[in-house]
Amino acid sequence: MRVEIADYCIRCGICIDLYPDIFIRNWETHNIDVAYDEIPEKDKERVKQAAADCAVAAMIIKE
């Protein structure tokens, strides 16, 4: 599983609040970075939950 953050992400940080070990605010680029290219098995459910909780559906999961 991979996850991409769409450019219309509003950078609100809900995903960071939920799972700070997976989603990281990049203060240089103003983007939200994902800690992994390939999401580890143990984190897949958490990433799915973060996508479901995203304010603007900007988290795109690719299986």
């Binding site: 509003i10 609100c12 605010r25 304010a55 559906a57």
Partner: protein, 519 residues
């Protein structure tokens, strides 16, 4: 080669004001419009407003009462022409957000006009206008912010109509013809720093406040405190998103071409600094646990010299508390102090009047000490609890002699049933006694969503020059202009959805009329 963009209208900023302007331009058929945004996405400061909006219904009774309440708030020295229009524009919210943008409604509090201006907390002029209309609690996606979703949907709708959005592309300069002539364009910079010349018939400035720019706030006297590390960008007491890009670009650009410089204040939200500890993902503006509810209770609060400074019934009136803290107290701070008996009272009886802070109705406050300890364990230096007043004063830096004198008089006011100094209703006075077993203290700073003010507009949202003449082709909306509608802005005078979007809508309507030759 320098890039040039030619449009009928350029908008600086895509927060709720800029988007409100764009909405009105589209409605009037003006679609050759470009929106320039410093941030990577639309939304601005108000995107972190997940819970609700206020709308004054378009009835004679409601419009008249709201106008009266808000005018009185400014001692009738406000920009009444603009005020009247923004109240009217607010009546369009239900159609825009619920019918057109399909935002869900969690609940509605319908308020009869005769009740406007009568709430203990959130009285006149609150940023959300919560006191002068119907309150809609709105539903976002997942744990997200409904206003953010609304503004994304609006952006997608506008893009289909031909509106162009340029993100990470801040406008830095405004081009004005010499000798007080009209505005003809602006200069923006793309992500690589390349200059873009914008040619436009009208420019709408709606770039928000300056809470991302501590140095500018300090230079202008907006922030003046020894706790300035708490005024970081979206971190502790400034409660918009982190990394906001609200740097005062619009104010600086307008001042440079002769725009009038008005007072600037931070908008109001008294906050206990509580870095990165949050109550939940969809409420980043609130500290974890029940701190916010506790600090809105009408109990003793003093400045660092131990002096009372306000009728404590104003404890949940953000405008009153913040204005007092900033104007009267050293270091933009106050200290809420109560004892173990009061902690038990909050646990057993709950909040005063069964109501505090409009989303926490009837809460009971469990384990104040445990909640404080959790914050302290995470490194918070702004809360404490000790057995003695002496220890509290030593830890917080409060003048002990002054505080003890204040407490003696405050406790006496309860005994005699009359508060000679501040006229606080005795039912809210909770004596502070070491004999109760414990003393609690919170440091509360004047926090904010944003800064208010900096620019002045006329009744059509035309930005004024230093002599109060409108600058032709230049319009303004949002936090940077709403404050001036209320004169020298009190903290919390406007802003947010109720103030910012209507001023943006007014700017959009006026710019549309101007470019169509109908002004």
């Amino acid at each position: 080669m320098k890039k040039t963009i030619e449009v009928d209208v350029a908008i600086m900023g895509s927060g709720v004001a800029g988007m409100g302007a764009a909405y009105k331009l589209a409605e009037k058929g003006v679609t050759n419009v470009a929106i320039f945004e410093k941030y990577p996405a639309q939304g601005g400061a108000v995107s972190n407003c997940p819970m609700g909006l206020c709308t004054t219904p378009d009835t004679v009774e409601a419009q008249t009462k709201a106008f009266e309440v808000l005018s009185r708030f400014a001692n009738y020295s406000c920009n009444m022409g603009a005020l009247s229009k923004l109240i009217k524009y607010s009546s369009e919210f239900p159609r825009i957000f619920f019918d057109e943008l399909k935002i869900g409604i969690d609940g509605v509090v319908k308020r009869p006009p005769e009740d406007y201006g009568n709430q203990r907390g959130y009285t006149m002029g609150h940023a959300n206008g919560l006191d002068v209309g119907d309150i809609y609690f709105i539903t976002g996606r997942g744990q997200g912010h409904a206003m953010a979703l609304a503004l994304l949907r609006l952006r997608l709708k506008l893009e289909k109509q031909g509106f162009k959005f340029y993100f990470r592309t801040p406008i830095k300069k405004i081009i004005r013809e010499p000798n007080g002539g009209k505005v003809t364009g602006a200069i923006a910079y793309d992500q690589e720093g390349n200059e873009i010349e914008i040619k436009c018939k009208a420019l709408i400035v709606a770039s928000g406040g300056m809470t991302g720019n501590l140095q500018l706030m300090k230079d202008l006297g907006v922030v003046n405190t020894k706790f300035e590390e708490c005024y970081t960008d979206g971190g502790q007491v400034l409660i918009h998103f982190n990394d906001s890009c609200q740097d005062g670009d619009g104010q600086l650009a307008v001042w440079e071409i002769g725009g009038k410089k008005t007072g600037i204040v931070i908008s109001a939200d008294p906050e206990v600094p509580n870095p990165w500890v949050r109550i939940g993902p969809n409420t980043p503006w609130l500290a974890a646990n029940q701190t916010k509810i506790i600090t809105e209770q009408p109990y003793l609060r003093v400045d660092e010299l131990g002096r009372r400074f306000i009728n404590e019934e104003m404890s949940s009136n953000h405008s009153a508390i913040s204005t007092s803290i900033v104007r009267n107290n050293p270091n933009m701070a106050c200290y809420m102090i109560f004892d173990e008996d009061t902690a038990k009272h909050m646990a057993v009886d709950g909040v005063e009047d069964g109501y505090v802070y409009f989303i926490f109705q009837g809460a009971k406050i469990d384990d104040v000490r445990g909640q404080m300890d959790e914050m302290i364990a995470k490194g918070n230096k702004h809360v404490c609890h000790f057995d003695t007043i002496h220890e509290v004063c030593e830890y917080m830096g409060i003048d002990e002699k002054g505080l003890k004198k204040t407490i003696a008089k405050y406790n006496h006011a309860k005994e005699i049933g009359y508060d000679e100094d501040f006229k606080t209703n005795p039912k809210y006075i909770r004596p502070v006694r070491e004999e109760s077993g414990h003393i609690y203290c919170y440091r509360i700073l004047a926090g904010a969503y944003d800064t208010m003010g900096g620019l002045a507009i006329d009744e059509n949202a035309n930005i004024l020059d230093v002599n109060n003449y409108p600058i032709e082709g230049l319009y303004g909306g949002g936090d940077m202009v709403v404050g001036s509608i209320f004169g020298e802005p009190p903290h919390n005078a406007g802003g947010n959805v109720y103030g910012s979007m209507p001023t943006g809508m007014l700017a959009g309507d006026s710019a549309a009329a101007y470019v169509k030759g109908e002004a």
